[in-house]
Amino acid sequence: MVDLKLPKKRMMVNLAPAWKRAMSFFIDLFIIQFVIILPFGRVMTAKLPMSDNFSKNYEYFNSNSDIIQQLTIIFGLIFSLVFLYFVIFEYKFKQTPGKMFFNLYVEPVDKKETLTLLKVIIRNIAAVPIFPLSLLWIIDPLYMFTSGRRLSDILSKTEVVEEINLYD
């Protein structure tokens, strides 16, 4: 066989930069908008008052507690489905559609370990709409700015890495 002396393909795995993670998250949100939120759109439109006036809407919610209950359940279900979206994709492919776009992967910090379902659940626990888990919506981005990793990443002992192809 003739040796063509083609450049050998090499891979480099780095910690994913914050901007790529943010962009991949926005892509995921865009997909979630169509797949999960849109089916609830008709119900939400029907449940929410039509007035543009904030005080009128506030009064409406105050005097219609059953609507508040229904909306709470709807929001709870939407967030649960969003949680399911991240868990299924990250557990099955180690990446969500947004991460696929930027070639980002979720990996355990300890490379000897595997990405277990528990780890995936912990790193996406912020999507579960239960207090105090929802506090992670504020804490996670703050951690991201200071340490380059989300608190959920640290708790689940995972990290998001990017795979870069290098050629000789």
């Binding site: 891979m11 795995v13 997909i31 797949v35 029907a46 105050n62 219609n64 229904q70 489905l81 559609p97």
Partner: protein
């Protein structure tokens, strides 16, 4: 290096399968929260009755008016929705078909919720009939209302045809079969029959108004000259209950239902296909109309 077990093609295919599963799950769950019939963005269903009232939906792009078909449907939806505590009819109509008015009126009477009508500029004839089927009528002091009566007319082209030597060949199985044909001069019997029809319709109208407004037949009959009344006159005559706006009506409903009243639009929404299919729809000829001749309406400019 990251361990990869799936090819890109497999990954994409699996991703679509997961997305479809999530979409189906979301769609399925959303169905448990009611359908379009259960609009709950308010507790007062506002049903507009604007323009001429007809039985069937008027088609076309420029079609206006209110059909009993659509209004009865909206009333049914409002009645079936437990979140709706009251119905507000927003009336601005000169009237129209007696059958349509009766259909809407009967439907309103079958609903055991607070029903209020607010007459804006016009609420005459058939529109007034409908308003009387509610518990309370608000009018503007300048609204035109009343016009309790029936109108029926057609153009007689027989003189025109004679002038151009065109004859109307008449073959009928009975003397009155072509009654109302615009191509011949009506006979005395036809005129009498036509007038009798109009009078009978008027009796129904008077009886309904008397029953709905809790007035005597004599009193309503006295007012049933076809005369239109200004809102403030109508209140004095007992044809309406109070001078007020739509906001007053909402406040009144709030007191009645013992809760803050929030309006929700129960207008029948037309799809593009409805408009297209409506283009070919034709309205049947009407014998008696419960309408105030809108072309003669007094306008304050």
């Amino acid at each position: 290096m990251i361990e990869k077990t799936l090819s890109l093609k497999d990954k994409l295919f699996s991703s679509f399968k997961i997305l479809f599963f999530l979409w189906a799950l979301a769609s399925g769950i959303s169905l448990f929260f009611g359908n379009d019939n259960e609009i709950t963005g308010g507790n007062v269903a506002v049903i507009p009755i604007h323009g001429e009232i007809t039985v069937l939906e008027q088609g076309g792009f420029s079609a206006g008016g209110a059909s009993s078909e659509a209004i009865v449907d909206s009333l049914e939806k409002a009645n079936n929705n437990p979140g709706i505590k009251a119905i507000l009819l927003d009336i601005d109509s000169p009237g129209g078909s007696g059958v349509a008015a009766d259909e809407i009126s009967q439907k309103l009477k079958s609903i055991n919720k607070t029903k209020v009508a607010v007459i804006r500029e016009l609420g005459t004839s058939a529109a007034y009939w409908i308003a009387t089927s509610t518990d309370y009528i608000f009018v503007n002091r300048l609204s035109l209302t009343g016009s309790i009566g029936v109108i029926g007319s057609y153009l007689d082209f027989s003189g025109f045809l004679n002038r151009y030597n065109i004859t109307y060949e008449r073959y009928v199985s009975g003397e009155l079969k072509d009654m109302g044909s615009p191509f011949k001069e009506p006979s005395i019997r036809e005129r009498e029959t036509f007038q009798a029809l109009i009078d009978k319709m008027k009796v129904f109208f008077v009886e309904e108004v008397a029953l709905n407004r809790n007035m005597t037949l004599e009193k309503v009959d006295e007012l049933a000259t076809g005369e239109v009344f200004l809102g403030n006159e109508a209140v004095k005559l007992g044809l309406a209950d109070a001078i007020g706006t739509k906001e007053d009506a909402i406040r009144y409903i709030g007191k009645k239902i013992n809760s803050t009243a929030y309006e929700v639009d129960y207008r029948e929404r037309k799809t593009f296909m409805d408009v297209l299919t409506g283009l070919s729809a034709l309205s049947p000829p009407e014998i008696g109309k419960f309408i105030y001749p809108i072309n003669n309406k007094i306008q304050l400019t």
